[in-house]
Symmetry: D2
Subunit: 145 residues, 4 copies
């Protein structure tokens, strides 16, 4: 598991110290992944197959493989406490495949994915103001609609 | 569009200089995105809804919205030359939503997504050796099977 | 709700009389639906857009809309006892859209969907013999793998 | 391939006689399929796993398998003239799996799928009047939005 590099703990509103939360490694970045995957595709002369709609269907296929890992399990708790090591490894592979195709799809569509996420998150903060939607499932669902 | 930070051009096998390719910005990283989304969810007290299977279904919903943008277009060329500015902006929003839910799903499953991608890419390089699969669609398809 | 047309009740192994189970209407058939949708598409001169991959992406979009109805709900019981009438109506619309595109995709791929299902069900009965997989989740999961 | 049972040819607007079009067999109906699948699930004592969200994720998994068959092919013509017999058989299996899970999901949600489709098709005819949307892709896309 990745470690945080935060120098001092900040206590979140839900009372869970930030440094105890699960975090990601700082590397590779999305641009690192894009570059590695571009190199992988170039080396195999596969750009001819990696057109946007082909990549989108490949992404759908990988999302399907993630779904297969969750399909018969009923509700699943955070951290997957009841999953075997093999199941967790399969999940890490399938989530990675989704990310790889998502990155390459964005590249081939000339979408700067890291910057696009910043824009979308700013929109989401406007759309769901924390003080208005805070709390109940009812409000949440209504806002979603 | 993001700029590369490569000091000198490297010529790829397909004859396209690396520095002319579309690239991503170096920031935010996947960990930056994870942290921003965790803060967004905490502030709204929405962790109670963001269980793994809920996030997976939300991811499926966002992939569906990407598919809707591509569904009636037939084949689409790299860079989306025939798309309007509005369509490209919608796509950047929907791809971002897929990434946001993918990152939060990985976090809640305790999968260190950046490191998992490195592992999966190493496996992919082994599974599809460049010198064996290079070139034809036929070989490519067979390897996929 | 549709009524069964069974003349006499048959008791299932799980003790639930067949005639109390939820059933579908006998009409329209899959062929009826195919013909109605073909007429709809012809009338609008939309066959030019209804190529196989376009229909597949439209299907993915509709599955995404079904997912959106389920995404924040946690586990959901048979018959959707906690859903509002409006939610149930939305679900019936989205499931219908999935079926419509599935039927048209099969037609455009020249797959005789009703007969194909019979073949696949026969394979499934062979693959998962009732006397071997009966019962536990463990056996079930192993068979799935 | 299934045969039509139309007694006399009707000429469609696009000049293709109806009786030359690909059609489905009249059986099994959706209710036949529902009943067969219910029997299959009962015999294996699998209703405990076939909750609505589990079935939805299984459906997503099967749609992913359909996508995998189309993902590297670029545009595909009606009737799949370039596909091998084996590929066509795989497609017929995967489309069947999508239908089986769709039918069982509808059953477990108490949606009378055949009747629901009739309702949705009536709505679609209202939403897209043939005389208004007939023809160009531009109009079609605008209506979709």
């Amino acid at each position: 598991m990745a470690k945080t590099t935060e120098p001092s703990p900040t206590i979140l509103e839900n009372g869970q110290p930030e440094e105890q939360r699960f975090t990601f490694s700082q590397h590779p970045t999305l641009e690192d992944i894009r570059k590695m995957q571009a190199h992988f595709t170039d080396e195999r002369d596969w750009n001819q197959f990696h057109q946007p709609r082909n990549l989108l269907l490949a992404l759908v296929g990988e999302v399907g493989e993630v779904a297969e890992l969750f399909q018969w399990k009923g509700e699943v708790a955070e951290g997957l406490p009841d999953w075997s090591g093999k199941e967790k490894e399969q999940l890490s592979h399938e989530l990675s495949d989704v990310l790889i195709y998502l990155v390459e799809l964005a590249e081939k569509c000339h979408v700067d994915l890291p910057q696009a996420v910043l824009d979308k998150m700013a929109l989401n903060r406007q759309k769901y103001p924390a003080n208005k939607v805070q709390g109940s499932a009812k409000k949440y669902t209504e806002y979603q609609e």
